[in-house]
């Protein structure tokens, strides 16, 4: 590997004098459902608070009355999805209902690790996405989010709202490549 060695040697020769690594940053903020809801709305998502005894599948059916292909490990699914599910099947999923681990109040992002996704592509390829989140697992900022997540695992994504683009004349369009809508179901 000659390039590896020559690059590392050049870095060693050219690197500046050592400076200290700052301690891990932590700024407090409001870890409230209100903040989380405000920001998720701001970025085009929706928050629905579930009543304690409300059955999840009933809520999903009300939200997506036309959805026939639902992938989920939280409610009875109509499309079974696992890591081996072929692309054609994934591509036809109307709604994925998955568990979010953690919500971030300052920006409406929800942490979704690989184990919650059924298939790595499901949260993006599904036409619509619903994330079920415990209201007690909302933290204030990204500092607390990374502190809580600790290790980001093999694959994991902070998902903040629906897929979007403003690449045509800065006009915001929801639904670029990923999910066309995002609902967080808070319980």
């Amino acid at each position: 590997m000659p390039s590896r060695e020559s690059i590392l040697a050049a870095v060693r020769a050219n690197r500046p004098a050592a400076t200290p690594l700052p301690p891990v940053a932590d700024f407090a903020g409001e870890a409230t459902v209100e903040q989380f809801t405000h920001w998720l709305h701001f970025i085009g998502g929706q928050v629905i608070r579930l009543a304690p005894a409300q059955p999840l599948d009933q809520v999903v059916r009300q939200l997506y009355p036309d959805a026939t292909r639902i992938a989920s490990d939280l409610i009875p699914a109509t499309v079974p999805v696992d890591q081996q599910t072929p692309t054609e099947v994934l591509e036809a999923v109307d709604v994925a209902v998955l568990r979010g681990e953690l919500g971030v109040a300052e920006n409406g992002a929800v942490w979704v690790p690989e184990v919650n996704m059924l298939h790595r592509a499901l949260p993006m390829i599904s036409q619509h996405l619903a994330l079920v989140l415990d209201h007690r697992s909302i933290v204030a900022t990204m500092h607390q989010a990374y502190a809580a997540v600790q290790h980001t695992g093999n694959y994991g994504v902070f998902i903040a709202g629906p897929s979007k683009t403003a690449d045509i004349e800065q006009s915001l369009v929801i639904g670029a490549h990923g999910a066309r809508s995002l609902v967080v179901l808070l319980r």
């Binding site: 590997m1 390039s3 020559s6 690059i7 590392l8 050049a10 870095v11 060693r12 050219n14 690197r15 500046p16 050592a18 400076t19 200290p20 690594l21 700052p22 891990v24 940053a25 932590d26 700024f27 970025i43 890591q83 692309t87 994934l90 591509e91 300052e106 920006n107 409406g108 992002a109 790595r120 592509a121 949260p123 993006m124 390829i125 990204m142 500092h143 990374y146 502190a147 290790h151 980001t152 695992g153 093999n154 694959y155 994504v157 902070f158 998902i159 903040a160 979007k164 683009t165 403003a166 690449d167 045509i168 004349e169 800065q170 006009s171 369009v173 639904g175 670029a176 490549h177 990923g178």
Partner: protein, 454 residues
């Protein structure tokens, strides 16, 4: 061609120039709104700058740590000294798995390395999947902005491009409908992509993971449907700890577009079962920049584009006028490191107002570096003749008080009776292109002072 010449072509359409200026200023204003909502924003900037500074001071150690952890995750790590080696590595990976099609999410590094033309020449079908990148790819243009690749285009232009290439109805210019057409078109490409390339926003030394930030979801969709993921990164993308992402994810999107965070902040550490992940670490001039004390700070850049949105020159000259992968103020301090002769006009494409430095989320002293590059370029004799002679003339006049006084007198008298067409002839007074000279005073300050203060 120099920056002023290319800028002149852009500004010949005054209406479009104004629109471009206002559109980018609007993005700057969105940035301000997002930034002012975070009381600790200035502290975050300092932290980000300090973390990057520390990382650069031990970059070799962090690169090795990163490589070791990535390998332990089952990722294949490659090192490329320059663009050519980077491109060859990517092609070799593709040939190794017998792939002929590639979906690409946003990567300024692969633009820098001119990967697309290289792969296409070698028989690979390359599809850029970021909407803006796809638009410019179909038009066979380069991106004109770091995060808004098609910001130089109007919706009518995009409508025409999509009509020709995607078969949308003639005259269709509604962004919603055009995006929907692109979504359908690109979904087909995602489904058949054998290899997915992504850029890297941050590489985490302690875990070997790479972090990719997008709004569209195209990076995740591409990677998670393809057999092979190739992540291409400049070696300066490293940060030491996962926890440092707390600082950078709070800064990046707010600085770039005024969003509180990008829609997808994706952490890739280990390939899915039965699939491959590769990381290509690229130097391509970065170690050289690291060795320049005046300019090494530019390696802190997180490619948010805030400096272009705020730059009065970029906003009115467009990204293509820079003729470099990274346009705007940051491009103007990165490009001379790559090829000083070719890019010698870029450090002069600035008013040195310092707005770029003020908005930079990692506190790069951009305008100070622009000023320093100017001096180096002058020392190396790379100034255009007009500027060289002009400066020479000026310095000889300023060094001789008698000639200076005489010249001032001639100018004061001359301006009074010489015809406007002559004094404002753009051939030898380009300053007067869009400006009026002030009325000449009757006497010089020196004369007035001698008369008044005895």
């Amino acid at each position: 061609m120099s920056h002023p010449q290319r800028a002149a072509a852009f500004t010949s359409d005054a209406e479009r120039t104004t629109w471009h200026d206002e559109t980018l200023w609007f993005v700057r204003q969105k940035r301000d709104k997002a930034v002012y909502a975070i009381p600790e924003f200035q502290e975050l900037r300092q932290l980000a700058s300090d973390i990057k500074e520390h990382t650069l001071s031990r970059l070799d150690e962090y690169l090795e740590q990163f490589e070791q952890n990535a390998r332990a995750n089952g990722v294949q790590v490659h090192w490329a000294a320059d663009a050519e080696e980077h491109n060859r590595i990517v092609l070799d990976i593709m040939r190794g798995v017998g792939a002929t099609s590639l979906v690409k999410s946003k990567s300024m590094l692969t633009e820098e390395c001119h990967l697309n033309p290289y792969l296409i020449k070698n028989g690979i079908a390359v599809v850029d999947t970021d909407l803006g990148e796809r638009i410019v790819q179909l038009r066979e243009e380069a991106p004109s902005h770091l995060v808004l690749p098609a910001i130089h285009l109007k919706k009518e232009d995009v409508g025409e491009t999509f009509h020709v290439h995607l078969g949308t109805p003639k005259g269709e210019k509604d962004p919603q409908n055009l995006t929907e057409a692109a979504r359908r078109h690109l979904r087909e490409k995602f489904l058949i992509g054998q290899v997915a390339i992504t850029g890297v926003n941050f590489a985490i030394a302690e875990t070997g993971a790479v972090v990719v930030c997008t709004n569209e979801g195209n990076a995740d969709l591409g990677v998670n449907l393809a057999q092979v993921h190739i992540a291409c990164m400049g070696m300066e993308k490293l940060i030491p700890r996962t926890a440092d992402l707390g600082v950078f994810t709070r800064l990046l999107a707010r600085s770039a577009t005024g969003q509180p965070v990008t829609t997808y902040t994706s952490h890739f550490a280990k390939p899915a079962e039965g699939r491959q992940m590769h990381i290509v670490i690229v130097d391509n001039g970065r170690t050289r920049q690291l060795g320049r004390p005046d300019f090494r700070n530019s390696l802190k850049c997180i490619r948010c584009g805030a400096c272009m949105n705020t730059c009065p020159v970029y906003r009115r000259s467009g990204g293509h006028s820079y003729d470099f992968t990274v346009p705007g103020p940051i491009g103007a301090i990165l490009s001379p490191n790559i090829d000083m002769r070719q890019h010698s006009s870029l450090p002069f494409a600035s008013t040195l107002c310092g707005s770029c430095t003020d908005v930079c989320p990692v506190k790069i002293d951009i305008h100070a570096q622009l000023y320093k590059w100017r001096q180096i370029i002058a020392q190396e004799g790379e100034l255009p003749v007009s500027k060289k002679l002009g400066m020479k003339l000026l310095s000889s006049v300023l060094a001789r008080p008698a000639i200076y006084r005489f010249g001032g007198k001639i100018a004061r008298e001359g301006l009074r009776f010489l015809p406007h067409a002559l004094t404002h002839a753009t051939a030898f007074n380009p300053w007067a292109k869009a400006r009026e000279l002030p009325e000449a005073p009757k006497q010089s300050f020196r004369d007035w002072y001698q008369q008044t203060v005895k």
